[in-house]
Symmetry: C2
Subunit: 195 residues, 2 copies
DNA sequence: CACGCTATTGCACTGAGTGCAACAGACTGC
DNA sequence: GCAGTCTGTTGCACTCAGTGCAATAGCGTG
């Protein structure tokens, strides 16, 4: 029991987590985030309010847990890219993973609309993406030419790429999903590369 | 009374606001954001908790009200720049206004440290800066060459510039204020301009 | 069957945020 | 000086997010 702290528990736990998140997001999307109490979410999931807090630290977590996973996915994909690949090319390839996520366009649109429709969720979203920087920057740094400020440069590139992704996302929502998100991303990146 | 809805009231109100914000930030910085209740802030300012809510919509607002003003300052400065000036040049010039704000380096460092030391404040910070985009992007768009995606491009540039500012800020805190913030900004911008 | 581990749950409490109604002070017209 | 209005302040009661604690229920193991 020392080596294996019961991975089965971990497994069921993460299944329950994503199930709860799904239930919650559905409720949020239909009733509105602010008009939905955790009491209701718990009831809909058939558990107690207190137990909900065993799975998620806050109401925001419940809505945004998916984002943390996305960050991990992107980082993992980025780490797999060839070491000599250009930073922007590698990032672009890593972002491709977002298109492969098991989620219908409708669900994705619903989710992002939810995100942008509430102040504290938008804030949490922005913060979560800011954390992606910490995951991506170390993977970008070795791809840059030697320089005194390489660490800063890596952070800037990671942050800027994520920002472009965010801008593309916003535009994608504005267009009601009637466009390819990564195309929009490419346009955004083009815009900042050269004056 | 129709034309002038007593601008005097507006004036005193904004004075009281900044006074309250100052008091609150001092408390937050010494006791910690989470360990400070609005009850205490109100007491320190000599008003009631309820009245505090007449001036600020939330605890976060109390800590971050300065940021909204900064955004307005930057936008105002940007609007003053010559219309034919390059977007990045104009932005860089507009950001200069941040150095002119009446705030000792110690106070600024204290404030930013406060910002980065708390999850929800970091989130609020990120969100406030995201709102700057909405102010700056329309001022940038006319500076870009005609294109199908000019609006998207303008948003991307505004967002990227703000992101670089944020990265520079983080680095500036990491260096304990021992550097010129705009120099760091320039380095960050350089890094993303060229593939 | 009994034991121990862990997740679940209820309960009570703090603190943010809101709606409402009472109140105090300033300013106006008489 | 006095009555009336307008507005900012305050207290009160309430909802809801989030936390600590202690009791309990469920489950695998001896």
């Amino acid at each position: 029991m020392a080596q294996k702290p019961t991975p089965l528990r971990e497994q069921t736990r993460s299944v329950v987590r994503s199930l709860l998140a799904r239930t919650a997001i559905d409720l949020f999307a239909t009733k509105g985030y602010d008009n939905t109490t955790l009491e209701e979410v718990a009831a809909a999931a058939g558990i107690s309010r207190r137990t909900l807090f065993n799975y998620f630290g806050s109401k925001e977590d419940l809505a945004l847990s998916g984002l943390a996973e996305q960050g991990d996915l992107i980082a993992a994909r980025l780490a797999e890219r060839p070491a000599d690949e250009d930073a922007w090319t590698a990032l672009r390839a890593a972002f491709q993973v977002l298109e492969e996520i098991d989620m219908t366009p409708e669900a994705r649109l619903e989710f992002i609309t939810l995100l942008f429709g509430n102040d504290s969720l938008r804030a949490g979203h922005a913060e979560k993406q800011a954390r992606w920087q910490n995951l991506l920057a170390p993977l970008i740094e070795p791809r840059l030419p030697d320089s005194e400020h390489r660490t800063l440069q890596a952070r800037a590139i990671a942050a800027a790429a994520i920002t472009c992704l965010q801008v593309a996302n916003e535009e994608w929502v504005r267009l009601d999903g009637q466009a390819d998100m990564l195309d929009l991303y490419d346009t955004a990146v083009q815009a900042i590369h050269r004056p």
